[in-house]
């Protein structure tokens, strides 16, 4: 075999790119970047064998290759189809793809409870983005949406099976990152669900990564549950010395409180480096971390509404003008407002806050 890496040409939406042999169409599109990249709900470049399940990345191949220029008869899943030399692919330029994708989104949303106002994933949910891009206003589904018995996955991970789209990413995480997988997909068809067969909590040290790979809100962080909306927290990059992982994370802060810790994600919403459970769930103090600065958030995301990047704080001139005297506060907001009570430290509560936390009678006891 030749030493030099062989590259082949592929044209996606009239943009030609040279890619190595064995690249999939989706990866080639990601090399181009921008709007030609098909959305992917189940494919995850860091997980082997992922992809091919959700069908959101369907593309039209209008020319198979230089050697065989016939178009492919059906739309193909771009995450699982390798490119050929001279292949021509249509993604956003094909009305067929647009139509098929709308249909796929409708199918994905058939049984989805659409409880975004309650869901902690809202704001960073790939299904939400997809729904905004391709979804219809209404549903044609007339039947009861499927429901499941609740399974408890332990103190850290909250499972909402009704929101699951069965992408299998969490199964691959458990297979490829941990030594023993204790959850999986049970039953078939409409009854298929993520569960541990016998009530069993997921407690492997790297199992927390299933939260990050989940494209919807099916697996969420119990220690962050209902504490705040994602877009009201401030994402900052931080790191710490960790024995078992890289320790590079994103902290989601509210003031000085660390409400949530996640792995850093790249522009495709994929984890850059896996982090361990200790970093994710146990280190909820700012002093545990070395803070690097605000995480870059795309301006198309609602999370960017806080505008934390490139903030230049104005110089406080009052003290200098008034001979070192601080301004006199006429009203302490906490004497009137009950929200953000400084005596309640949400980050130190494991699991969601309930009325016990906010009820003054139990607080005094």
């Amino acid at each position: 075999m030749s030493e030099a890496v062989k590259t082949i040409k592929v044209t996606i939406d009239n943009i030609t790119v040279d890619v190595p042999v064995g690249t999939t169409i989706l990866q080639a599109a990601r090399m181009i970047g921008g709007d030609v990249v098909p959305p992917a709900m189940c494919y995850y470049s860091k997980l082997q064998d992922s992809g091919g399940k959700c069908r959101t990345c369907l593309v039209e191949v209008s020319k198979g290759s230089e050697a065989d220029p016939r178009p492919m008869p059906k739309l193909v899943a771009s995450c699982r189809t390798g490119v050929m030399d001279g292949m021509e692919v249509k993604n956003m330029t094909s009305p067929k793809v647009e139509d098929a994708r709308n249909g796929v989104v409708e199918f994905l949303l058939l049984n989805h409870p659409l409880d975004c106002p309650v869901c902690d994933q809202a704001g960073e949910c790939h299904l939400q983005d997809l729904g905004y891009g391709h979804g219809k206003q209404g549903t044609r589904y007339e039947f009861k949406r499927r429901t499941f018995e609740k399974h408890d996955l332990g103190p850290y991970i909250q499972l909402h099976m009704t929101r699951c789209i069965l992408c299998y990413r969490c199964v691959f995480v458990a297979d490829q990152l941990t030594d023993k997988r204790s959850h999986g997909i049970l039953s078939r068809g409409d009854h298929a669900e993520i569960a541990t067969y016998i009530e069993n909590s997921l407690d492997n040290n790297f199992i927390g990564n299933v939260i990050d790979v989940c494209p919807v809100g099916a697996l969420t962080d119990k220690t962050f549950r209902f504490k705040n909306r994602v877009w009201f927290t401030k994402p900052v990059n931080a790191h710490r010395d960790c024995k078992c992982c890289s320790g590079k994370v994103t902290l989601w802060q509210r003031g000085e409180e660390v409400l949530r810790v996640t792995a850093r994600k790249d522009q495709w919403g994929e984890v850059e480096e896996w982090i361990c459970n200790e970093c994710r769930f146990e280190k909820k103090k700012t002093t545990d971390w070395t803070i690097e600065g605000p995480t870059h958030v795309s301006r198309h995301s609602v999370i960017s509404q806080g505008h934390y990047e490139n903030v230049q704080m104005p110089n406080e001139t009052f003290k200098a003008v008034h001979g070192g005297r601080n301004p006199q506060l006429l009203m302490d907001i906490h004497s009137v407002s009950e929200v953000n009570d400084p005596s309640i430290d949400l980050s130190l509560i494991n699991g969601p806050a309930t009325s016990d936390v906010y009820n003054p009678s139990t607080k005094q006891a």
Partner: protein, 184 residues
């Protein structure tokens, strides 16, 4: 002082003529106008006793809605707060316990919900953003106050009375418009 532009008009001060010096004709003329207004339609109303109907799109004080079983609609999703251009709305969510299912409609609810009426510009974007029919703008306005403290409205002030326990007050809170519509 020399004029800068030579365009200034010199004020003419003519001496008043006889009729003007009498004063009385001008006074009677003015009094006649005043007298005429007594028979015209009044532009004002005696406010606290009498109230003008609000326009159907009037945006007044906020109300947090309940469903017909008296459970709170709000799930602390934060859409009103993110839509609010004045950043007047703050809230804290909590998880519903099994003993509280008659109080809150969904598994998450707003444990704290505050609107700073001094910040609020009554634009109605919160009402528009709400996916749960939880916040509405009523046909009243915030009463005036001497201190700022009274203007931070918490859930006690915002929640509509319970339609199960307190039907009478609930109907009053539902507003005059509904009663008017029923009468027609």
């Amino acid at each position: 002082m020399a004029s800068l532009t030579n365009r200034a008009k010199v004020l003419e001060q003519k001496p008043m003529n006889f009729m003007e010096r009498l004063y009385l004709p001008a006074i009677f003329k003015g009094m006649a106008i005043t007298f005429m207004h007594m028979f015209k339609k009044k532009a004002t109303i005696s406010y606290p006793e009498e109230k003008r109907p609000f326009s159907p799109v009037f945006r007044g004080l906020h109300v947090l809605n309940r469903d017909e079983e008296g459970r709170e609609n709000c799930t602390a999703c934060g859409l009103c707060a993110v839509a609010c251009p004045a950043e007047a709305i703050t809230m804290e969510g909590a998880e519903r316990k099994t003993s509280e299912e008659h109080l809150y409609r969904e598994e998450k609810y707003a444990a704290k919900y505050e609107i700073n009426m001094l910040r609020c510009i009554f634009c109605g974007l919160c009402e528009e953003a709400c996916p749960k029919d939880a916040i509405y703008m009523s046909e009243t306005f915030a009463p005036s106050n001497f201190t700022r403290k009274g203007f931070i409205y918490s859930k006690d002030e915002l929640l509509i009375p319970n339609p199960v326990n307190d039907k009478e007050k609930y109907d009053i809170a539902k507003g005059m418009r509904e009663a008017q519509l029923k009468n027609k």
